[in-house]
Symmetry: C2
Subunit: 436 residues, 2 copies
């Protein structure tokens, strides 16, 4: 059997510890699959003393990840530090400079510096693999990069953040508000102390940028993504969605359109019976629509130490076997710079919830403003007041409109006019409907 592949693991959190543990526990089988032993020879983390349940007695310890990346006894560097800059970036760049393959779960780093890293890695002839950076244990990177080589992908979309899906699922099931649900998720360890990155949609956006690159052969373009989080979703929206045959999910969606690549992250309504709509809790799921294969759906755990380590180790085994495809499927020089399809050009159906001040003519004025923009309404639902006696008070009533496909630009004009007319109280709630 060939020489062992000596692995340095930078970052010993949940994922890093699981990688070290599984590489040791399954050494024999992994060697058979890889054609050579895979051995952890070095690790790096901030706190040396912490008990991680790992035997690190025969492993070199580096306080500095970049030092690990250039250590003489390391052939491959696993970067699990996280963050687009700082020690993670330095570690990956150092590894490449020294001609060492990199396996990383760092979506922020790749969404921002992916193309530069791909170029550097190609110049040095060493691979960077990142299965673990998107949708945890789901082999979506491999599927897009290798499994669908024969396809033109028209759309890739899905649930890429377990925290958001957990919150939306619980809000729906327990009929509780966003804030209460978030606090609960934090207590259970499903949400960070600072949840902005997750619930604001930014984590999903980083992952989407990588998926869009793999799917469409373009450079990752995280800055070109339209991003909305889930904080504005109310239990009433979820209930209305249910009544109208939809479920609300935070989706990342990348679509090839005539106007360019449309990338967006926002709460979406999906027909209840669609595969992605049915995915509950912390599970992730991705659908790929492509010309040859049709629709392909992958679902599984999007996070967790062992599931993410599963993706990291699959990459290590591939590299041990000499499998080194271009990072984003195509050589970096062949990735196109994506034309950004502006959000105003987005076409689709919309769910609009308005707090309408109940006075004569309000409904007619709203309908007129929609009609002026050529927007057809598929359904209109008014949530009546509890008792007749309230009817004279001029208190707002909730009116939900479902539109047929229109452009975002037209809809925004109509909503601005409705607001200017003074018939509604507060900003309209708008949730885009994702077609099957």
């Amino acid at each position: 059997m060939a020489e062992p592949l000596r692995v340095g693991v930078a970052g010993l959190g949940t994922v890093g510890s699981a990688v070290v543990r599984i590489l040791s526990a399954k050494a024999e089988e992994l060697a058979a699959r890889a054609g050579r032993p895979i051995v952890v020879t070095a690790v790096s983390a901030r706190e040396k003393g912490r008990d991680r349940g790992l035997d690190l007695s025969r492993v070199a310890w580096h306080m500095d990840a970049s030092q690990l990346a250039r250590a003489n006894d390391v052939d491959l560097v696993v970067e699990l530090i996280g963050g687009a800059e700082g020690p993670a970036r330095a570690c990956v760049e150092t590894a490449i400079e020294h001609g060492r393959p990199v396996v990383t779960a760092n979506k922020a780093l790749l969404a921002k510096h992916g193309v530069a890293l791909a170029r550097a890695s190609e110049e040095k002839g060493v691979p960077i693999a990142f299965e673990a950076a998107v949708a945890g244990g789901i082999p979506i990177v491999k599927t897009l990069r290798e499994g669908l080589a024969a396809n033109n992908v028209s759309r890739v979309f899905g649930i890429l953040n377990g925290t958001c899906n957990y919150i939306l699922t619980r809000m729906e099931k327990d009929k509780i508000g966003f804030a209460e649900c978030l606090a609960d998720a934090q207590r259970l360890g499903y949400a960070e102390a600072d949840p902005t990155f997750d619930v604001g949609g930014f984590d999903t956006a980083h992952k989407l940028a990588l998926l869009a690159s793999l799917a469409f052969g373009v450079e990752p373009d995280a800055d070109g993504i339209y991003v909305e989080g889930i904080a504005s979703i109310t239990p009433l929206d979820l209930q209305m969605a249910e009544e109208l045959g939809y479920r609300v999910k935070l989706l990342g969606v990348a679509t090839r359109t005539d106007a360019g690549v449309e990338q967006r992250v926002h709460p979406s309504m999906l027909p209840k019976e669609s595969a992605i709509a049915r995915v509950d809790g912390v599970t992730n799921a991705v659908e790929i629509d492509a010309d040859a294969v049709g629709a392909l759906v992958l679902s599984g755990p999007g996070a967790g130490g062992d599931a993410t380590a599963s993706a990291v180790i699959a990459d290590i085994v591939d590299i041990a076997r000499g499998v080194t495809p271009p990072m984003f499927g195509l050589p970096a020089g062949k990735l196109r710079s994506p034309t950004r399809a502006p959000m105003g050009r987005h076409e689709g159906g919309y769910y609009i919830r308005l707090s309408v001040i109940d006075r004569p003519g309000a409904a007619a004025a709203i309908a007129t403003r929609m009609a002026e923009q050529g927007i057809s309404l598929k359904s209109i639902v008014q949530r009546g007041r509890e008792s007749e006696s309230d009817s004279a008070g001029g208190e707002p009533v909730q009116v939900v409109l479902i539109t047929y496909a229109t452009t975002e630009a037209s809809l925004r004009i109509a909503l601005d006019a409705i607001e200017a007319d003074g018939h509604i109280d507060g900003a309209p709630q708008l949730i885009r409907i994702e077609k099957r």
Copy 2:
């Protein structure tokens, strides 16, 4: 750019024609992905004259697939003839003898001769790839062989035959019998003139043997699979399943048990809300349960020219790039010969439907026979007669029992005793319940 990879395609049915068409239409992008051009230089099929909508003017035509496999202008052989013996086997063996990589969709060939072919291909140092042999366009082979290298798989199961799933879905929806539904499927082209291979479960068994090999590191063992088809399923069973919270699917299931590898193909009841239960029509879906990744579900088209060609071409691109993993994930010499877990040792819940001759003591006798084998009943449903006046006639009534987990051996003993007691009319209907 490197030398072109010259491909010979043996078999120009729907899939073969799609392979030739897509390789030509997407030549440029595929070359970028593969690092070298991929060119079809030779084809082989029985009827030369037929119009397949392909320009074959610059392609060598071979009447004999084995001749194609040893032609001088062929670097890689795509075998799409089908069948475990005859020209398909000769073509693949010839290609390997001549040191040419093979891409095949031939599940029958691999289920029967897979180990011998894996050994021969390793001796010659040429790969055999077979993504298209299982679940059409779903990249399940790549996922098991490469994506889950870090995992011990405990179970792999799913809907692997679109014809059966189409029939069961329609029987359920339109409340029609198996024979009528089959005739319909034949008219629509979803079922062959001789449907035995599909509806008898044998096609599923071939695919399952390959999945089990990849999942558990064992030699494919199609002869060790317990196989039942769907012909015995009635609309009443589907209706009862619905009422009890289940759906009926023809599943292939391979499980790692203490007694060895359990492989079985039969109609199964799945909890309605499970991912696999929700898959309708000709779609295929596979769930993998594994220690690191948890549960992973892949669904997509299980057949069709373009979807299957997508899998064939992904394999070609991999080989063009030099990706040549061992055929079944591990080197042939490391595949274990599976210990077959006997079906009598199978443990699970059961749906039992009995035509009970309605006379005093029948129910008590049946319950006693179950209790004698230590089988607990989760529910008992009796389909009452339409009118009271029938009650004296001694006509059979339908009684459905749902058992808690028991062994198949115990259940068979109980059912034999119930039959011997003479309280039932005809053989019991038995459908195994697959746990989530």
